[in-house]
Symmetry: C2
């Protein structure tokens, strides 16, 4: 598997192991990971620190984003896709979009290249979590 | 002036007084402020904590957002507008959009009511800041 997606999945599993929603993300520039993170709704009591937001936060103030690639185990929602569009990230690689379609069309309409790897491991991770925690998942995507 | 926009401007001025970008935001439910914040790029070294994100973070896990109104001294960018759309906030009131057009059409396309108060105080606050700090402002909106 792509080593960067493997790192994002490792982040998702860290999130699951600490009681959280298993979504992970890494930011890559010039073949190196410059930021990584996972959803902090449960662990940080945060409504807004999705995996991609945590990742971008942990990357810090890196200046421009035009040569970065954002990996996420799940297709980014509008919040995270909004960050991608606003900051000019040109490429997003998602682990899957079967359990949640996300905002792929919105990103593509703004010129972002979006790749969906449709990975069984990512689908099982989220599918199992959503089945076991439907209310928490609905809260995370604003569908309460 | 609308007391909630006055509170958002107070947040923006707190941000300016602590060396930051002067944008403030409050979240209102049932006539009460349930969250407030300001841009944390400088003070928090954060690339992602825009005023509206800080406000939503400080409001905490409030469940659904369908009866909330988000105030911001500046028209929300795609990141913050993405949060509005994802979490189902139905109304956004901006202090101005003359210094930055933001993502008004994107929010409206998703059924959000957007009001632009076009306030001289907000325009002067951002106009003066952008003139004095053009690189910092470009960084904040991803236009480096």
């Amino acid at each position: 598997m792509d080593k960067f997606m493997a790192a994002a999945i490792d982040q998702a599993r860290q999130g699951l192991a600490t009681g959280g929603i298993p979504i992970g993300s890494v930011l890559v520039r010039n073949g190196e990971i410059i930021g990584q993170g996972h959803n902090q709704r449960v662990q940080g009591g945060s409504p807004i620190i999705h995996a991609e937001i945590d990742c971008l936060q942990n990357a810090g103030r890196i200046g421009h984003y035009r040569d970065t690639v954002l990996y996420s185990t799940l297709m980014p929602c509008y919040l995270c896709a909004g960050a991608v569009v606003q900051f000019g990230i040109k490429k997003v690689i998602a682990g899957e979009s079967a359990t949640f379609p996300g905002a792929r069309e919105f990103m593509e309409a703004h010129g972002v290249e979006v790749i969906d790897l449709d990975l069984a491991e990512c689908k099982q991770l989220m599918g199992d979590f959503i089945t076991a925690n439907p209310a928490l998942w609905s809260e995370d995507i604003g569908e309460l």
